[in-house]
């Protein structure tokens, strides 16, 4: 019994001898990271909000964007991967009048995921536009999803199922693909189609929109 206790104590002693530096360093580094995170995380969050607001303001000019979360409404939708995901939905207000909605959307891209901000009118019937929050598409081709020439096609289109075409006129619900970047264009259209549908459904469920079909 005594021998076993001595063995156990020496095992603990050996463990401490071997790993005290690792344990102490982990504690110190953890503390350092916690301080850095506490000091800079408000600024990082502010940068994210500023960027969202700047992009949303370009899509619905002159509006004040009020996050729905502020009024206690959380919007969760099924993402393109199939999992449930919380998204940030903003109500675009001008005084007392609602001008529209904006929300972020994310989906797969050609090289990496594509993150968009999408804006629609107050009834979710017309697309006010979209902009790219983050993407790593190929320079010279797929990266053109960030350019105004591609983005302006979406403005005023019906918030229904958009269709991508490779040539011809981008009329009605048709969007002309970027030459040499059909796959990136397809991903953008797919993300917009999916998120408009699921966000509308979720908002109708919450009673934020009427139940009329487009």
């Amino acid at each position: 019994m005594y021998r076993r206790e001595v063995k156990a104590v020496s095992k603990i002693k050996y463990f401490v001898q071997q790993s005290w530096l690792l344990i102490l360093s982990s504690f110190c580094f953890g503390l350092l990271l916690a301080i850095a995170n506490a000091a800079w995380s408000p600024r990082i969050e502010q940068n994210r909000i500023n960027k969202l607001n700047a992009l949303a303001d370009r899509l619905i000019p002159g509006a004040d964007f009020v996050p729905l979360e502020k009024s206690g409404v959380v919007i969760e939708v099924i993402s393109l991967k199939g999992d449930r995901k919380k998204i940030d939905v903003y109500k675009a207000m001008s005084g007392e009048q609602c001008l529209g909605w904006s929300f972020n959307a994310v989906g797969p891209g050609f090289q990496d995921k594509i993150e968009l901000i999408i804006a629609v009118d107050k009834d979710f019937k017309t697309i006010a536009g979209f902009d790219v929050l983050a993407s790593n598409e190929s320079p010279g081709t797929g990266a053109k999803i960030k350019e105004k020439d591609f983005q302006k096609q979406f403005k005023g289109k019906p918030a229904a199922k958009l269709e991508l075409i490779k040539s011809g006129q981008a009329k009605d619900n048709k969007i002309l693909a970027i030459s040499g970047a059909t796959i990136s264009s397809e991903f953008v259209v797919e993300i917009i189609n999916h998120y408009i549908k699921v966000v509308r459904q979720e908002m109708q469920k919450k009673g934020l929109l009427g139940n009329d079909k487009e």
Binding site: L21, L32, A36, W40, N47, G140
Partner: protein, 206 residues
């Protein structure tokens, strides 16, 4: 006494210059190839990556050098990784807070500094065997050598792919930008040509 201080000064000078040319991490040791190829489409992100690597290298070399006599041989790689990942996370948070645009441009390549071979190589080859001053000088030499290499590569690629340097137009109006130079193919071709050039210049000298 004077001889001793002369020897020390020459060791410091040798250590500093080694990273810049003789043991340049990219051109001579072929280390840190991932950021060299991935973030050199323009000079600004290349410079930001280089400065981040200098910060991480200097901090990790300081910590490793200070704890070198306490390191257990079988735990040393674990300690190096822990140290490096701490400073990389701090660099990443700093960029996200104060340089959000650049942080977005660099994307996952800032967190990936953790697996940059230059840093673990200098911790193992220099900082764990030398005093604090030599370790700091080595980190500065290697870091500056890496940054300069990245900037040269990025300068050539940005110039040929956009006709600009630091977003300022440099090439004449008749110049047709080569979009391929901003793509991975441009990175491989430019790096290959520069490696060939450096090998040619140093042929027979080693």
């Amino acid at each position: 006494m004077t001889k001793n201080s002369d020897t020390t000064a020459s060791i410091y000078k040798e250590t500093l210059l080694a990273g810049l040319w003789r043991e340049n991490p990219v051109f001579r040791l072929l280390l840190g190839m991932c950021p060299t190829l991935a973030v050199t489409a323009a000079v600004k992100p290349a410079l930001t990556m280089g400065l981040s690597v200098i910060f991480v290298l200097v901090c990790s070399n300081i910590v490793v050098s200070l704890m070198r006599n306490l390191l257990k041989p079988h735990l040393r790689i674990l300690m190096f990784t822990l140290t490096i990942s701490t400073f990389v996370t701090i660099a990443d948070l700093f960029l996200r807070a104060f340089q959000p645009v650049m942080s977005e441009t660099l994307g996952p390549y800032v967190p990936l500094i953790i697996v940059n071979c230059i840093i673990i190589c200098r911790a193992e080859a220099c900082a764990s065997k030398n005093n604090l001053v030599v370790s700091i000088i080595d980190a500065i030499g290697m870091g500056v050598g890496f940054t300069l290499t990245l900037c040269v590569l990025a300068g050539i690629r940005e110039l040929l792919s956009t006709g600009m340097i630091f977003e300022a137009k440099v090439m004449p109006d008749w110049f047709v930008p080569w979009a391929a130079m901003s793509m991975p193919v441009g990175a491989f071709i430019t790096l290959g040509l520069l490696l060939g050039l450096v090998n040619r210049l140093t042929k027979g000298k080693s």
